[in-house]
């Protein structure tokens, strides 16, 4: 099991239901591969540091994920294709940091 961190920016024109749909789809894809979303941190609307697509803000969500290696290709593909998703970033958390946040332990239980 490895810990990952996924940040997703959804377009600010998308309504709450749309954002929820994106997040649920991500979780669905991860669970389907035997992983789990340990923590979902919904930041909400946040101003960009610079305009993206002529928009000044986006809806941010950070997910902490625990899954086996390279099961996230499908998630990445979905995020790249999804029109509502402005940007996303998937980062492998170093084991030490994952442990500190309790990601690996929680994965063993779930």
């Amino acid at each position: 099991m490895r810990a990952y961190e996924l940040m997703v920016i959804v377009d600010s024109d998308v309504d709450d239901a749309g954002v929820k749909a994106v997040n649920e789809r991500i979780e669905q894809l991860i669970v389907a591969d035997g992983g789990s979303v340990v923590k979902t941190d919904f930041w909400g609307r946040r101003r960009y540091a610079y305009p993206i697509n002529h928009k000044l803000e986006g809806i941010y969500t950070v997910l902490e994920i625990s899954t086996t290696a390279s099961n996230l290709d499908e998630v990445d593909r979905f995020l790249r294709l999804a029109d509502d998703v402005v940007r996303h970033k998937l980062i492998r958390l170093p084991d030490a940091e994952a442990e500190r946040r309790g990601l690996l332990g929680a994965a063993a239980e779930g």
């Binding site: 940040m7 920016i9 960009y48 540091a49 610079y50 993206i52 986006g58 941010y60 950070v62 940007r87 970033k89 980062i91 170093p94 030490a96 940091e97 500190r100």
Partner: protein, 134 residues
């Protein structure tokens, strides 16, 4: 990646002042989170450039992690790539921000103005003297 932190005993090579200590050392941060905008901003200049190691006091590992984190944060629009600094006319104040960064110059036609503050200072000084004597 764990950054090895050794305090260098030889700070005599540094010209004047004491050895710079990175915020990462003084606040005992062992994982540079790319989402921590407030932390990363402290390693950027007001024009949003990444501060040099000699300014930030980072060792090479720390500097690499900071740079990586800032670049990640930039991609996600958490931090700017550039930010304009408003210029005030006249002599640029040389503040303690010694990162060797070129401050925007005043417009071209005021290039000669750079000498004026000097003469002004002298002028007022001599006036003061006259007043005291009178």
């Amino acid at each position: 990646m764990k950054a090895k932190r050794t305090t260098k005993p030889r700070d005599a090579s540094r010209r004047g002042g004491k050895k710079k200590v990175s915020v990462l050392n003084s606040e005992k941060i062992d994982y540079v989170d790319w989402k921590d905008v407030n932390l990363l901003r402290r390693f950027m200049s007001d024009r949003a450039k990444i501060r040099a190691r000699r300014v930030s006091g980072n060792d090479s590992q720390q500097q690499r992690e900071i740079a990586r984190a800032i670049k990640n944060a930039r991609e996600m629009a958490l931090l700017p790539y550039t930010s304009r600094v408003t210029t005030q006319r006249g002599r640029p104040s040389r503040d303690r921000d010694d990162d060797g960064e070129r401050r925007p110059r005043a417009p071209r036609e005021s290039a000669t103005e750079e000498f004026e503050p000097l003469t002004d200072v002298e002028g007022t000084e001599s006036e003061d003297v006259v007043e005291v004597e009178a």
